[in-house]
Subunit: 323 residues, 2 copies
């Protein structure tokens, strides 16, 4: 497939794998890149040792790295360490990218900014982002409330007004070839895909957690702050995270203030469940697209299938029009 | 344009205008139908006199009618009154359609069921709906939390499993030709479009309310229960409504329990503002697509433009694939 994104990044399928915290290591990132997309190491909260290790596992494959912007601001020296690994792109999410943009640009590394609102997109364009990722609430993991469907074309129009050189990816709910084709129709140059790669052979996901997710429908997820409260992560108030509902989430969602008071015991219980892969208590970060997923094949075959379906959808599209 | 929906309904553009309460009268419905889509009278809470009047205004144009299902259940005799007007379709939303499906089928009227979850879709298929509308949270007015992007293909797959004769429309955030093209890629046979027609010359919207909406971005809306609390509408707890944020919503969103206590005075203030079209207090029911809308032309020209853009997107789609 050929879009402005494939041409800019030198890839053959307009798909960037989301840099999912903890789940997206070097094995997943390299598998996606080797199959024609752009793989991303989920640098997330900025554990420099882990990031180094994952670049090592990627074994020289051309992969990028994602970082959580508000967390990077607490340890800005991490940026140079990551840039030294010559990532194929740097992917910043959740916070103001402006302080970091100049160093990324100077290193000649493409800057990808993930945004959740039109206002964020304007800020990212102002600081010279090469690629804007318009992420809708449909996504798994952290995000905000705007839906993918109307956010993407609105950001596309803003890009056209402000800097038509910038590229656009859609994110949130894009799980198969139909979703990729739809994202392109909405005005995106490609898609960022998380949940579909989270459920792959290479992702770093506990098998019991994975099994629970594979049997879920898209009705089973919820956006909540419970997870960040129990693990004591100091996320800015505007963000929450989409997870699978389970007894732990059911117990605490809507009662986060009480959870704070009981955080000690509950945190220990949660951490043990996380370690053991107990899906009734541990967190299952997936998007609404989980309802379209029932197996966890290798990432390369996921991308191959997704591309084939997208091509079929796009090829048939013209037959819908009657001139 | 030609899809299974256009063939089933005898229309030339695969667009159904959402039966928006209070805003969608006979003038809007007939304008949409006369331009090649399917127009709908927003029968909503079931004011039989108003519905009759709007069918009169539609002047014999082939239009359908929408009703709120849980409200219809309180006055089931309304169904026969509406069926006597030989609507082009009956559009049920928010509640269990099963008790009403047999009479609609017996009348030979196509049954459209709007759903917000996969589970709702299964229920609608079980009762023999001809058209399922998968409505995402991106929509204006009442709805639920699932996003349009992943809900539509998941419902498409369920239809394929359960009754492949049933048709599927996407709803929520679809505002222009890009959105219609994307909906078709996701597996829908057409789209239900609200907000774009709400902002049309024929919609029954106060000009001051309309002006406020036309200057808003998609970042400016929120899903809330404030409106139903202040007007004392007894909506089932799973639903809320997307509206434009204004000082009244800012004041009460998240404090609905307090609002209930003060409902008398606030209800009077809200009702007066509604009458006067005061956009700081009155309710502006719009979806996230409002950010793509900056004028209110005649509905016929909206549909014409939307179709032209969708055709352009779909025609170009094949060029993205590289065989």
């Amino acid at each position: 497939m050929k879009t402005r994104l494939t041409e800019a990044l030198g890839i053959t399928c307009p798909v960037i794998q989301a840099p999912m915290a903890f789940a997206a290591g070097g094995a997943l990132a390299s598998a996606v890149s080797n199959a024609g997309g752009l793989g991303m190491i989920g640098g997330a909260y900025g554990d420099a040792g882990w990031i180094d290790q994952q670049f090592g596992i990627a074994g020289g494959a051309r992969v990028g790295c994602g970082l959580i912007t508000w967390k990077l601001a607490e340890q800005p020296q991490l940026l140079d360490q990551v840039l030294e690994r010559s990532p194929a792109a740097l992917f910043l999410s959740f916070g103001n990218p402006a302080p970091f943009a100049p160093a990324i640009r100077d290193a000649g590394v493409p800057l990808i900014c993930q945004v959740q609102t039109l206002r964020d997109a304007q800020q990212a364009l102002d600081c010279g982002a090469d690629i804007i990722v318009a992420q809708g609430a449909d996504a798994g993991g952290h995000g905000e409330s705007r839906g993918t469907f109307a956010l993407v074309p609105e950001v596309a129009d803003e890009i056209a007004r402000q800097n038509s050189e910038a590229l656009l990816c859609a994110a949130g709910g894009i799980t198969d070839g139909r979703g990729l084709a739809a994202a392109l129709m909405l005005g995106a140059d490609g898609a960022v895909i998380g949940t579909r790669f989270w459920a792959s052979r290479e992702a770093l996901v506990h098998p019991r957690i994975l099994d629970r997710a594979l049997s879920a429908t898209g009705d089973s997820t919820v956006r909540t702050r419970v997870v960040d409260v129990v693990r004591g992560f100091d996320w800015p108030g505007r963000y929450n995270g989409r997870v699978l509902r389970n007894p732990f989430i059911q117990k605490w969602h809507g009662s986060e203030d009480t959870l704070k008071l009981e955080a000690g015991a509950e945190a220990a219980r949660w951490a043990a469940a996380q370690e053991a892969g107990d899906p009734d208590v541990a967190t299952v970060f997936v998007g609404e697209g989980i309802g379209l997923i029932s197996s966890a094949p290798p990432a390369g075959s996921i991308l191959e299938n997704l591309t084939a379906v997208a091509q079929r959808c796009l090829t048939r599209a013209a037959s819908i029009t009657v001139c």
